[in-house]
Amino acid sequence: MNLDNVSVSVQQQDFDVSAELRRLRDQSAQVGAVASFVGVVRDINDSQTVSVLELEHYPGMTEQSIADIIIMAGERWQLVGARVIHRVGKLLPTDQIVLVAVTSRHRGDAFAACEFIMDYLKTRAPFWKKEQTEEGARWLDARSADQAAVDRWEQSD
């Protein structure tokens, strides 16, 4: 993977998935597959209604840790490019939180790498979510299912 085709952004503003995928496709005529994942704010979490989701991060470390994850994916699969956008600040239910998009020559590499990057992002990139609910504000706890998703990749090495 050419690192010129890798881009990571942490930003408050929303993103346009269609425009992002077009930019990825236009990077190279080698691209035969584009796989993408978009994470969205849900209105209910752990049986409580969520009115606002606040995302905090560690500037600098966040961008570098995501870039490192993409490079790990590039060592594992044949990729052409990758784009990750993660929003921070105050978000509302139905808002987009995160985009992971990966290009490759063939679909298998793009599908797998997209899931791999998302799984590692959830357990390695320094973001923290705080929900405002009817019962007050609460920081979310890390989920063991997210760690299990990463463990699965490490077992299949």
């Binding site: 840790s65 993660h86 992002l121 959830k122 923290w128």
Partner: protein, 84 residues
């Protein structure tokens, strides 16, 4: 001098987001430095900074307690991450 940063629940519980202090001893371990931070504050800091799942980083890399510190390092304390 070293920069010390606290994020998320750790920042809220300590009511502190950033500290700048001189490194008591160059080459000291992160564990010894954490003890120094606790000793110069109060029992509440001990409770927060020794919580079981706390993550520590030096120069934006997650490290273990035996990591050796140098002048100019950026040290951070935070809970398990929950992005995505």
């Amino acid at each position: 001098m070293v920069q010390v940063m606290f994020f998320s629940l750790i920042r809220e519980r300590l009511d502190t987001d950033k500290l700048s202090l001189s490194l008591p001893m160059p080459g000291m371990t992160l564990l010894a430095f954490t003890e120094h931070l606790i000793d110069t504050h109060d029992a509440h800091w001990r409770e927060v900074l020794t919580s079981a799942n706390i993550i520590k980083s030096v120069n934006q890399r997650v490290v273990d307690n035996d990591c050796c510190l140098s002048d100019g390092d950026e040290i951070a304390f935070f809970p398990p991450v929950t992005g995505g």
